[in-house]
Symmetry: C2
Subunit: 253 residues, 2 copies
DNA sequence: CGTTGAGTTGACTCCTATCAAGAAATGTGG
DNA sequence: CCACATTTCTTGATAGGAGTCAACTCAACG
């Protein structure tokens, strides 16, 4: 039994490495057979280069995608041609949930850098729920989590200043990097000021000004896309009035 | 067979009346047995008065709730004591999806007027997915729809003017009332200017000014909480740059 | 009929978008 | 490898939209 458990855990690790989805099932005590089943339906496509699309608005919905390495941004095209960023997705995070409803994708997803994703055919995933107990519930949880995150962002966009928005954004990235085993205080932004602004409902100039402002206050060290958080406490304090949405934005996938 | 179908449809209508959830399953061609199963788990509580809570932040998550009549607002409490409205829920709409993730509710839900809700114990609903084919998928769709709606609101809050926000809000209400068989051009707001403002990220004074402004432009007729839309086209035109989020906010349930 | 809460309206201020110009980095082709 | 083009970022000046503060009106209710 203990030996079996070890095998199972190793398999889990492998599966987690290949596809963040399996991680969902960790708290369930999946046995190795379950992992194998999950593993069997996951498709490993070759990495996308910067700018490559995972899917585009209007594409038929077939699969969810789990980011393995790199970053995906999701966005919609506005009638006037400009694009609106609706999300940034780091390793371990899932993209494509909005496609389930109408059986087609309602936003586009493109790589911000060289990025590897796992493709999980949704139909097969739905079938697996009958043979893997608890999987269904984990999927519901995953989607509930997505709703929570979006609610948090809504609140942030509705009633926060530019400063609070950028602070929340940086803290969210920090926590998410930390959860994946990267440094929570030092990381590279894979998105432009423009994209950050679009996501946070700010002009790119405002984002730029805030970065320099945070640097002047010794909260950050900014070198173009490289960010080092010098004073995490101050960053948190900026959000003292916004803890509600902060919690929502930060909880692990 | 045709006779059976009639029975089934009647049952469906009854079920729909009792609980909007069954409506989810309409496109699936549920048979009457399925409806009975769904019906059996639904609890009908007595109506809430204005101000009564369906659930509160931190409550253990047990059930989803479907609004039968009336209006529910969901909101979170900010650290400084003020509340932030995160949603208004009309008849047929589902409340409580954000509770699945952590097994407890992350927001509070209270009645804005005398309101009847159906309680659907989530555990039992999850069990039913094994005996009602397609139910699982409908639940995924429901949650996906919720994500889509929130994304739409995010975009609206991120990059729209106060005028556009209120126009989108009114059009969203209009469509949702229409879908439930009410007039799309004349209705009563069950929420205060304050609550509308909180939801849209605006000061209550701004909301008030916009109502008078819309009235001056002969777009609306406003008498306190009673709204009559005089010029639907103009209202749409205000959102010509925001059609993306408009679509997302409007689609049925 | 006074009290209370909601809504309206005005005056003022401030935050952030916009416009504009320049600097830095990145990429390209000769 | 260098000159040029292009994109991204930074910084400044300006203007406008919406928040805030405050006073007033109106409706509801005991």
């Amino acid at each position: 039994m203990p030996k079996n458990k070890v095998v199972s855990l190793n398999k889990l690790k492998v599966a987690c490495k290949n596809c963040g989805l399996a991680k969902l099932c960790l708290p369930l005590g999946l046995d190795s057979g379950d992992i194998d089943q999950l593993d069997a339906i996951v498709q490993r496509n070759r990495p996308l280069h910067r700018g490559g699309h995972v899917f585009q608005t209007g594409d038929k919905f077939r699969s969810l995608y789990v980011v393995k390495t790199g970053t995906i941004k999701t966005y919609t095209q506005c009638p006037n041609g400009s694009e609106q960023v609706v999300g940034f997705h780091l390793p371990g995070e899932v993209v494509g949930l909005d496609g389930i409803e109408c059986d087609k994708h309602l936003c586009s997803a493109k790589a911000l850098e060289t990025t590897a994703v796992c493709e999980v055919p949704f139909g097969r995933l739905e079938e697996l729920t009958s043979s893997i107990p608890g999987l269904q519930h984990q999927l519901f949880r995953l989607m509930s989590r997505e709703i929570t995150k979006e609610t948090g962002l809504m609140v942030l966009l509705g009633k926060s200043t530019a400063e609070e928005r950028l602070a929340a954004f940086l803290l969210s990235l920090s926590v998410r990097f930390h959860n994946r085993g990267f440094s929570p205080v030092e990381f590279n932004l894979s998105m432009s000021r423009q994209e950050i602004g679009s996501y946070l409902g700010l002009a790119l100039e405002t984002v730029s000004r805030l970065f320099t402002h945070f640097q002047e206050e010794s909260i950050l060290l900014v070198d173009r896309k490289h960010i080092k958080i010098l004073d995490m406490d101050q960053l948190y304090n900026l959000l003292s009035n916004q803890t509600t949405c902060l919690d929502r934005l930060q909880a692990p996938n």
